[in-house]
């Protein structure tokens, strides 16, 4: 029976503490001095800190200066629940974890501000997905630009090559020096054609350093041939 279960867990306050500790949402309770008085299991797993590491410490142990100011501002905001805000929790072994925080004031029976409870949402996976999405968009943008350039170059190249070859059709009546120069133009057109062809095959853009700190496409490594189906 349900009542037996409650009794087996212990007293009401222990039961509440157990519920809070078991919450899958990282929860941190603060007193009026912004000292941590509760740090549930999900918060411990998220940051790697143990209860003893943080209990009694100020919230600035976990978050940076700006985030601490934001929490204070939220609490001073007339005791109303704040909007979510993005922050970073320090991790015990070094490094940070991106989180979305909701700071909820805790009011005393008399209606006065008694502290706060902070709900945190781990954004690591979301950030990774956003990063992958941005990378995919970057690759798509470069690939589309490369394909467009390939297309736009090939039409005028076709005309330049055509005109050059039309003039060369009468090469016997032309000055040999003019013929040599026209053949040079023809050769360079073929070279541009090869570059344009490679541009159209870019499917994994790789950048390399260029002069002045800017970067350029590494044409050699940006065209990956797909393995033929077995």
């Amino acid at each position: 029976m349900a009542s037996d279960t409650v009794i087996s867990i212990g007293s009401g306050s222990e039961y509440m503490a157990s519920i809070i500790d078991s919450s899958p949402v990282p929860l941190i309770a603060l007193d009026m001095s912004l000292r941590i008085i509760m740090f549930n299991r999900a918060a411990r797993e998220l940051t790697g800190f143990e209860m003893a590491d943080v209990t009694g410490c100020r919230i600035s142990t976990l978050v940076g200066f700006e985030d601490t100011r934001r929490i204070i501002r939220d609490l001073r905001d007339g005791g109303k629940s704040s909007d979510d805000h993005m922050a970073k929790f320090r991790k015990s072994g070094g490094g940070e974890v991106p989180v979305r925080l909701k700071v909820n004031p805790v009011m005393s029976r008399g209606g006065e501000l008694a502290g706060a409870i902070i709900l945190a949402m781990d954004l690591t996976e979301l950030r990774e997905l956003q990063s992958k999405l941005l990378e995919a968009e970057r690759v798509a943008a470069i690939t589309e630009t490369a394909i467009s350039v390939n297309h736009e170059i090939n039409n005028p190249l076709c005309s330049i090559l055509g005109y050059t070859q039309l003039i060369l059709m009468d090469k016997d009546s032309l000055d040999p020096d003019v013929v040599r120069k026209l053949e040079g133009i023809e050769k360079q057109i073929i070279r541009i054609q090869e570059i344009a062809e490679r541009l159209g095959r870019i499917n994994r853009p790789v950048l390399k350093e260029y002069v002045g700190g800017s970067r350029m496409l590494d044409m050699e490594h940006s065209c990956v041939e797909e393995a033929a189906d077995e």
Binding site: I147, N150, H151, E152, N154, N155, P156, L157, C158, S159, I160, L161, G162, Y163, Q165, L166, M169, I189, Q193, E197, G200, R201, E226
Partner: protein, 135 residues
């Protein structure tokens, strides 16, 4: 002997000028359409031996023009002729390229920029094959 008639379908006037000049120099009779709809109209009205067809055209694109004309030929509405597609770029994957080539039913694809001599060799090859088919 009648001269071979070729319809150039291309919206780039410079390409038209160079190809038309090179073909006329070799004795072909050349007609031009600058967009897909005009190409369809001309090909359905006049008899040609071969069509040089660009892909990126105003109106209807080259794939559609080729598919529609080949269907007309299959169903006997127009006399058959070869369609040689001239395209400025290869599509993004070999599979898609194969699909479009099959779907459009064109006889051959050539990629821009091309050498005029290569183009004329391909045209002669298709016309010779067509003559052999007729005979």
């Amino acid at each position: 002997m009648d001269r071979y008639r070729i319809l150039i379908v291309e919206d780039d006037e410079d390409i038209v000028e160079t190809v038309k000049y090179a073909l006329e120099l070799r004795g072909f009779e050349v007609d031009v359409a600058y967009d897909g709809l005009h190409a369809l109209r001309k090909a359905r009205k006049n008899a040609y031996d071969l069509m040089l067809l660009d892909i990126m055209l105003p109106g209807k694109n080259g794939y559609e023009v080729s598919r529609m004309l080949k269907k007309d030929m299959e169903e006997g509405r127009i006399d058959p002729f070869k369609i040689l597609v001239l395209t400025a770029r290869k599509v993004d994957s070999p599979e898609r390229e194969d699909f479009l080539a099959t779907w459009s039913n064109a006889d051959e694809y050539m990629y821009k920029p091309f050498e005029l001599d290569d183009l004329i060799n391909r045209i002669n090859m298709h016309l010779a094959a067509e003559t052999a088919e007729v005979n």
